[in-house]
Structure formats: structure tokens, C-alpha cells
């Protein structure tokens, strides 16, 4: 019985062919065959249940791993979004700083501070007469 369970080979316990063809069959042998069938069914059920439990466990683990991964990725995405927003904010502040530094009024005041003065008149050289002379 145990060896059957271990090997699972039905042929090893089969009745020899001569007996099978014989008219007489002993009750003990019939009983043994019924017990064997029950044992086989129990074994199959056990293995099936074990496989189902294992599969369910594996699925649950996979689902948990997936959920954890998504949640972690979600938190990472939020962190990256916050970083992006902060960089955009810093960029906007820098653009304003550039605009402030580029302001003509500030540049004029700075030029005055450096002692520069405005040119009263800028002579403009006419290009057409020059090119005609050439």
C-alpha cells in the first residue's frame, strides 16, 4: 500500500494474467482492489487540494507583490512630481530674477552709478552716399 502510494505504479500490483482469465476470483483480492481505489482517490484529492492551496498562495503572493510594487511606484511618482513642481517653481523665480536684472531702469541706474553719461547726440552715417562714392 505504502509502496503503491510512493510509486503510484498500478501495474506492479496487477494480478497475473492466468488468474485474470480464470473463473475463480478470491474475495480477498476484490477487497484489496477496492481499498486500492479508495487510496488512489484520497491521494488524488490530497494532491489536488495541496496544489490548489499552493496556487492560491502563490497568486495571493503575486497579487500582494504587485500591489506593493504599484503603491511604491505611486509614492515614487508623487515624490518625482513634487520635485518637478519645485524645480518649475525655482525656474519661474529665476526667470523673474533675470527679468529684474534685465530691466532698463536698473541698468540705467547701474550705469549712472558707474559714472557713465548719456550721449547727447548720436551721429548717423548715411550708407547710400558712401556706397555711391565707392
Amino acid at each position: 500500500m505504502i509502496s503503491l502510494a510512493l510509486t503510484g505504479r498500478r501495474r506492479s500490483v496487477r494480478v497475473p494474467a492466468a488468474r485474470r482469465h480464470g473463473a475463480y476470483r478470491r474475495p480477498a483480492a476484490r477487497h484489496t482492489r477496492g481499498a486500492q481505489r479508495t487510496a488512489t482517490w484520497e491521494l488524488g484529492s490530497f494532491l489536488g487540494a495541496a496544489a490548489a492551496i499552493t496556487a492560491a498562495f502563490v497568486l495571493a503572493l503575486a497579487y500582494l507583490a504587485g500591489s506593493t510594487g504599484v503603491a511604491t511606484a505611486g509614492y515614487e511618482a508623487q515624490r518625482l512630481q513634487a520635485t518637478r513642481d519645485e524645480l518649475r517653481r525655482q525656474n519661474a523665480l529665476l526667470e523673474l530674477e533675470v527679468a529684474k536684472l534685465d530691466s532698463p531702469a536698473r541698468i540705467e541706474a547701474e550705469a549712472k552709478r558707474l559714472g557713465l553719461v548719456r550721449v547727447p547726440f548720436i551721429p548717423v552715417v548715411q550708407a547710400a552716399p558712401l556706397s555711391a562714392r565707392r
Partner: protein, 559 residues
């Protein structure tokens, strides 16, 4: 015994069966009828319903320079119970914020669970405070409208109030475009206030405000404001205004009003300084109106540049005698000389020939008495009384700019019509805007043809002569032809008379006169200088024109 046991068993069974039915009913009730309520209560514990604010659009000048932008600044708050050494923290904050530590300590010692220390900090101060890493101090980001050029073009830009609504100027007129539409976000949050990635998430994205581009040029605006401010301080004038526009399409290149204010600090601004004098200050324009009177006279064929009259220093009309400035008699004077000498009697001569009907129609055709339609908040239309209310003398006074009121922008638009060949354009300050749908450009709008191109060309020559040979010689710009006219108006007093020795001086002109690309009007209130303040107005005009022409790289048209 067996019977009793059976009865007890039945009783117990009945009790349990009844309880089961009640419980099942209750469960069924919660699962069906009250399901929605239960779900709402459960979601309410983890769901947050947030408004996604729309970012207000940026305002730029015609070259793309930022004039106004919204950024998020950090606001400092405190949870007093978590701060251990309050006096030391208050001292540190006082140093970093440049404030007295006393009021800060008061806030930190308050019984409140949560208090603001200071809102919208400068970024450097916020960064320094963050480095302290004090438990119980934290930051929240809040939007703030910033103006990198400070009070430059303050009246044209307007400002944004504490509710985020634009007030005055472009901020007010284009508030709907600049403001955008806020969005909505519903998410599930964990106890650490982080969004649950697999939780419920419903989002309606915010529609950010459009970026607006103005016709104003930062360099021309800076020059105009610098010259106006310098003149007002030198002349000790009460107020003043300057406007520069392109006569070809009415695009405003610069507009400034003084006194002024800082749009980012309106809480401390003087309310009188917030009045935009370019569009919201109707005053009697005075002799600058003579150009419009003579234009109407030439256009209707009642006078020509060479038409002359004998100037006796005054003109009688409607039973009243109207005098020239300083009572001077010029003798035989033609129409060009009327402008050169700014002779009131000459303007009355033209007005009389036109008659009240045609004069009033011409004044209105030039845009006086109604708003120009400029895309700015707070424009005034000025007053030109209906012809039915005119007394006979009003034909005389209106012909030289008294008895009616106009804003500096209306005067500029009228001179632009003379400069561009006779077409009145609607002045505008926004060149276009860009939003999610793409680029929108403002189409220049011609209101009407006021005078014929020939009359306009004649008037231009007469006004150039006024600058070259007449009273407006202080407006000459070396190397360029300039046309223009001075104007001095008396200031009405509350008793209906005019105030003695106080004037509003104006100079309106265009340059280069051969093919005008700029029209400028300078107005000064109560200046203390000779020639009734017109010299100060002309010198301001000349300085602003010189800078504008230099910046625009305009080729000189004179030696």
C-alpha cells in the same frame, strides 16, 4: 423530561432563529438601503476633495520681457506646542525676516494650535529658515503676483487683489483670460497624507490662464517714465501723464501716469496715485484742439493754409470777447500762423466759418466725447456737450479746446488720425495672447475716416511748421522732423470760475513727421515754469522722442 428538553430546544431555536432573522435583516439593510451612506462615510475618512488652482498667465511686453508673473512663494507657519525654545526661535526668525522678534514671540506663545508667522516670504529668507530645521515650523506655498520692473507701467498693468481678481489696467480688462479655470482632484490618502496609488482618483485638470503680450515696449516705456518723472520733480507739478502710440494702427508703445504705485504693494498705495491719468483724467485740452478745428475747416473747404484774417488780439462771438494768450495782437495772420502762434482769435475765426453744427460733428468725429475703446479698465469718455446745449460763445471756446474735456489718450488718438492720413484708430494695448487653443492676435481696428488724406498731409506740414517756426520750437529733435502743438488749459475751480495762475500744460506731436511712426502726448498739471509750463511739456516730449527714435533705429530725415 424528554418533552421539556424538546420544548427548551425549540425555544432556544426560535430565539436564535429570530435573532438570526433580525441580524440578517440588519445586514441586508446595510448592504442595500444604507449601502450608499456607509460607502460615503467610509470614503469620507480617506478621500480628499482638492481644488487644483489655475496659474495666472504671464504678461510680457512686445519683445517678450516679463512685466508680470505669478509664482508660488513659501508662507511660514508655526505649531506653537511643538516649539521648545520659543525665545531663541523668535530671535532667529527676527534676524532672518528682518523684523522685530517681539511680535514673532507673541505669535509663538499663542494658545492657538497653528499660526501664520509671515506669508509669502522672499525665497532667500525662506531657504535660510528651512535650513534651521526647527521642529514646529513649516511652510505652505501660496501664489503671488510679482512685477520685476516694480512700478513701471503700473497703471497699464493694473494689479491683482487678495482674492486673485485683476483690478485696473490689463489685469482687470483681461482678468477672464489671465485667470484661467481651476480644476478638481478627488483622491484617497493614507494616514501620512500621501495619495494611495491604487485608490480612487478623479481629476479635472486646471486650465491655466493665457500668457498675454502687450504692444508696450519696455525700453520706450522706461524712457517715457524717466522723462516724465524728472520733469514733474523739476517743475514741482502735481501730476502728469505721457502716452506714446503708433499712429499706423493705434498700438500703444508706452503710457505712464504720475504719481504712481507699486502693483505688488497696493495695500500701502495712495488711492490718488492709482488713478490712470492717461485714460481716466478728462481735462480741458486747450490749444492742442486748434489742430482739429483747422483740420475740420480745411476739410470742409471753409479755410486753406493761406487764408488770413486780421488778428486784433481778441475775437467777439456770441456777445463775448475771447482773447489770445497774454492778449497779444498778431495783425494779419494765416492759418499756419494760427497754429505757430497759437492764436485763439484765429481758432474762433475758423470755428465761426464752420458753424456750431460742423464744428461739433468734427470734434466728435475725432473721437472726443466718447471712450476710445482702449482695452484697459477705467477709461473716461470726456465731455462734449450736445449741440442743443451749446451757447453761441461755445463755438468760439470749443474751437481752442475750452468748454469740453478730453483724456490724454483721446488727444493722442486724434493726433494719430492727422499723422496717419486721416483715419481714427482704436488704441489698444494687448497685441495678443497664447492659451491652450493656440495664439490669438489683436486685429487693429480703424474706427472711421475723419479727414481726407490731403487735409491730413496739409495739417502735418502746418504742425511741422509750428515746431520749426512757431511756439513749439522746444520740441525739436535734432536730425528729425517733428510736428506738434502746445496746449494750455485753465483749471476750473469749485465755484465754476478758473483758478488763477494754475494750468494744465500739454504737448501733442508726431515724429518723424515725413512718415510718422510715433505720436506722443505729454500732459503736466500745475507746472511751475515759463510759457505756462508748455516748455516743460515740450522738453519731456523731446527727450522721450530722442530715446524712442534711437531705440527704434530710425534713420534721421534731416541734417
Amino acid at each position: 423530561m424528554a418533552g421539556i428538553s424538546s420544548a427548551r430546544l425549540r425555544a432556544v431555536f426560535v430565539v436564535f432563529a429570530a435573532l438570526s432573522i433580525v441580524l440578517s435583516g440588519r445586514v441586508a439593510y446595510w448592504q442595500t438601503v444604507a449601502r450608499a451612506d456607509l460607502l460615503d462615510r467610509a470614503r469620507g475618512q480617506v478621500l480628499t476633495d482638492e481644488v487644483i488652482p489655475a496659474q495666472r498667465g504671464t504678461i510680457r511686453d512686445r519683445s517678450g520681457n516679463i512685466l508680470a508673473a505669478t509664482v508660488e512663494l513659501r508662507s511660514l507657519y508655526a505649531i506653537p506646542a511643538r516649539i521648545k525654545d520659543k525665545p531663541a526661535v523668535a530671535r532667529s526668525l527676527g534676524v532672518l525676516l528682518g523684523r522685530d522678534s517681539g511680535p514673532i514671540l507673541e505669535r509663538l506663545s499663542a494658545r492657538s494650535d497653528w499660526v501664520w508667522i509671515q506669508r509669502r516670504l522672499p525665497e532667500t529668507a525662506a531657504a535660510a529658515i528651512a535650513k534651521l530645521k526647527v521642529d514646529g515650523l513649516g511652510f505652505l506655498k501660496e501664489p503671488k503676483r510679482l512685477y520685476p520692473n516694480e512700478d513701471l507701467a503700473a497703471h497699464a498693468l493694473g494689479f491683482v487683489n487678495d482674492d486673485g481678481k485683476g483690478q485696473g489696467g490689463v489685469e482687470g480688462w483681461y482678468d477672464g483670460i489671465l485667470r484661467g479655470l481651476p480644476g478638481k482632484l478627488v483622491v484617497e490618502r493614507d494616514p501620512a497624507d500621501r495619495t494611495i496609488a491604487l485608490g480612487l482618483r478623479e481629476a479635472v485638470p486646471a486650465r491655466h490662464g493665457a500668457d498675454v503680450t502687450l504692444t508696450i515696449d519696455l525700453v520706450v516705456q522706461t524712457a517715457a517714465e524717466r522723462e516724465l518723472r524728472a520733469t514733474l520733480e523739476r517743475e514741482k507739478a502735481t501730476s502728469g501723464a505721457i502716452v506714446v502710440l503708433d499712429p499706423r494702427d493705434g498700438a500703444i508703445r508706452a503710457m505712464a501716469s504720475y504719481p504712481t504705485f507699486h502693483p505688488a504693494a497696493v495695500a500701502v498705495a495712495d488711492p490718488a496715485a492709482m488713478r490712470d491719468r492717461v485714460i481716466g483724467w478728462p481735462y480741458e485740452p486747450g490749444s492742442v484742439m486748434k489742430a482739429m478745428t483747422i483740420a475740420a475747416g480745411i476739410d470742409h473747404g471753409v479755410v486753406a493754409p493761406g487764408t488770413w484774417y486780421d488778428d486784433r488780439g481778441y475775437a467777439d462771438i456770441g456777445g463775448r470777447r475771447l482773447f489770445n494768450a497774454l492778449g497779444r495782437a498778431w495783425g494779419p495772420t494765416n492759418m499756419t500762423q494760427v497754429l505757430e502762434r497759437s492764436a485763439n482769435a484765429g481758432a474762433v475765426f475758423v470755428g465761426s466759418r464752420l458753424g456750431g453744427q460742423r464744428l461739433a460733428e468734427s470734434i466728435r468725429a475725432f473721437g472726443f466725447g466718447s471712450r476710445t475703446g482702449v482695452d484697459l479698465m477705467g477709461e473716461a469718455g470726456g465731455i462734449v456737450r450736445p449741440l442743443a446745449e451749446w451757447y453761441p460763445v461755445d463755438v468760439g471756446t470749443a474751437s481752442f479746446g475750452q468748454g469740453l474735456t478730453a483724456t490724454p489718450l483721446q488727444v493722442a488718438a486724434a493726433y494719430a488720425a492727422i499723422a496717419n492720413g486721416g483715419v481714427l484708430h482704436r488704441p489698444y494695448v494687448v497685441a495678443g495672447w497664447r492659451d491652450a487653443d493656440g495664439e490669438h492676435r489683436t486685429a487693429p481696428s480703424a474706427v472711421r475716416a475723419v479727414i481726407s488724406p490731403t487735409t491730413a498731409a496739409t495739417l502735418r506740414d502746418m504742425l511741422v511748421s509750428t515746431v520749426d517756426n512757431g511756439l513749439a520750437q522746444a520740441a525739436k529733435v535734432p536730425g528729425f522732423s517733428v510736428g506738434g502743438k502746445t496746449g494750455t488749459a485753465q483749471i476750473p475751480s469749485p465755484d465754476g470760475r478758473y483758478v488763477d495762475d494754475e494750468y494744465i500744460s500739454t504737448f501733442a506731436g508726431f515724429f518723424p513727421a515725413v512718415d510718422p511712426t510715433f505720436v506722443a502726448v505729454v500732459t503736466l498739471e500745475r507746472p511751475n515754469s515759463r510759457l505756462l509750463g508748455t516748455v516743460a511739456a515740450m522738453s519731456t516730449f523731446r527727450a522721450a522722442a530722442q530715446d524712442t527714435l534711437r531705440y527704434a533705429r530710425t534713420q534721421p530725415d534731416r541734417k
